[in-house]
């Protein structure tokens, strides 16, 4: 009875999408902050290669967050 009233599939997809988007974006953004922090520390320690890797990880994470935000908005506008 409840299953027919509730749009179960839509609700489940909402839950999954929210978990992936909410936790995923926060995790990736944390990686970006971690990367920038490591980049600053390693640069001060004069370890340019390691600093470069950390900076690249941070930049890629930021791009991923930006892409996730744009994809979220595009998905919304297509409904």
């Amino acid at each position: 009875m409840i299953a027919t009233i509730v749009e179960g599939r839509a609700l489940l997809e909402t839950v999954i999408a929210s978990l992936i988007a909410g936790v995923g974006v926060t995790f990736v953004f944390s990686i970006a902050i971690w990367g920038f922090g490591r980049f600053a520390d390693l640069s001060r320690s004069e370890r340019p290669i390691a600093a470069g890797v950390a900076g690249t990880v941070a930049a890629l994470a930021l791009v991923a967050v930006g892409a996730a935000v744009v994809i979220g908005i595009v998905v919304m506008t297509r409904k």
Binding site: T4, I5, V6, E7, A10, L11, E13, T14, V15, A17, S18, L19, A21, G22, V23, V25, T26, F27, F29, S30, I31, A32, I33, W34, F36, G37, A40, V65, V69, G72, I73, V75, M76, T77, K79
Partner: protein, 367 residues
């Protein structure tokens, strides 16, 4: 002629509700950014207002749910919609008076359901739509936001726990500019649609629009403008409750709660669930607090908020039914809505005057 007058009153009342929705819910959108110092209050509110306006144009699936899936359109008249709006506005103002972040969405749906029941009995309610698209998402959404924010903050502390605090705080404050913007957009798209749905319902009931029509462009633009103006006007009392009284928040918690809120609202809007943005965001704030330390959440304040949530649907429904009864005392013409509008305006003025006598709204920074 009389029905056109009623329709004009309904549209005006709906836009007034939309204004109070923005005014009441400003806190949901900006409180975390302001309380963590990620944005100055006026800047946060200005940007939120703009993005609420833009967000209103993104989608109409929630508007369709409100217009078609909650009450039987055959028994709905413009007067029923009017009385429902009065119920919603009244409950919004009552909860604003006490500084409680209750749901404008559930107030609206409760008000319309109450007035429809008063007009045509319980057959007027589409139980499947009310339960499946409103009540169950109403329970699921804040719990989901709580879990998402709680999981997010746990991950954040694991990833950046050993970094220098200054760097982490600065990073998440920048992040909050984006997450807060996304939240404003999400709020605009979900909440403005409820007003669009109600105006569309009234237009269909009046015969001005075919059944199951999408909201006309002027309705979308007017609803967007009303919620944006309401948001810009701000609601400091609730900003303080959401931003400082539930938990004492750091920037990472602010980012996690806003991210969780935006994700849940955008996903729900996509599937046409008219959920309460208030419930979601407060669920996110509590989750971000509990994810750090369960005792960090002021559960007494959280309990008051949950009580207001539980009361919203029945209280707004009762006021909506009462407003419908009052309106019908004056017959089926325009006199009833005119009299009830004047009575409501008088009450609103009295509430604001009493509030002003008790002291000016408290700025968030003071808490």
């Amino acid at each position: 002629m009389s029905s056109d007058v009623i329709l004009v009153i309904v549209v005006g009342t709906a836009l007034a509700f939309d204004f109070t929705n923005g005014f009441h819910d400003t806190a949901n959108v900006v409180a975390t950014s302001i309380s963590t110092g990620a944005a100055r209050p006026q800047v946060a509110i200005g940007v939120a207002s703009l993005l609420n306006f833009v967000g209103a144009f993104i989608s109409i699936s929630v508007a369709a749910t409100v217009a078609q899936d909650v009450v039987n359109a055959d028994v709905v008249t413009p007067t029923v919609v009017f009385a429902g709006l009065i119920g919603a506005i009244a409950w919004n103002l009552i909860t604003w008076y006490f500084g409680l972040p209750s749901s404008s969405s559930h107030a609206l749906i409760g008000g319309v359901v109450g007035s429809a029941v008063a007009a045509a009995g319980f057959d007027a309610v589409l139980a499947d739509g009310l339960v499946g698209k409103v009540l169950i998402p109403a329970v699921v959404a804040p719990v989901l936001a709580f879990l998402v924010a709680g999981a997010s903050i746990g991950i954040v502390y694991r990833v950046v726990g050993r970094q220098r605090p200054g760097m982490v705080t600065r990073g998440f404050k920048y992040g909050q500019i984006v997450s807060g913007g996304l939240l404003s957009l999400a709020h605009g798209t979900n909440d403005a649609q409820k007003t669009m749905g109600v105006i569309t319902l009234a237009l269909v009931a009046n015969g001005s629009l075919a059944a199951e029509s999408d909201p006309p462009t002027w309705v979308i633009a007017a609803a967007a403008a009303a919620i944006a103006l309401g948001t810009y006007s701000g609601g400091w009392r609730i900003i303080k409750t959401t931003g400082t009284r539930i938990i004492k928040m750091d920037a990472a918690q602010g980012f996690s709660s806003q991210g969780a809120g935006a994700a849940v609202i955008l996903a729900s809007t996509h599937f046409g669930f008219p959920l309460s943005t208030t419930h979601v965001i407060n669920g996110g704030v509590m989750g971000a607090g509990a994810g750090k330390r369960v005792s960090a959440v002021r559960w007494g304040v959280a309990g008051n908020i949950v009580t207001a949530w539980l009361l919203t649907l029945p209280a707004a429904a009762a006021i909506g039914a009462l407003a419908y009864g009052l309106t019908r005392i004056f017959g089926t013409g325009a006199l009833g809505p005119v009299v009830v509008t004047l009575m409501s305006l008088s009450l609103i003025v009295a509430v604001f005057a009493r509030r002003a006598q008790r002291g000016a709204p408290v700025p968030a920074s003071s808490g």
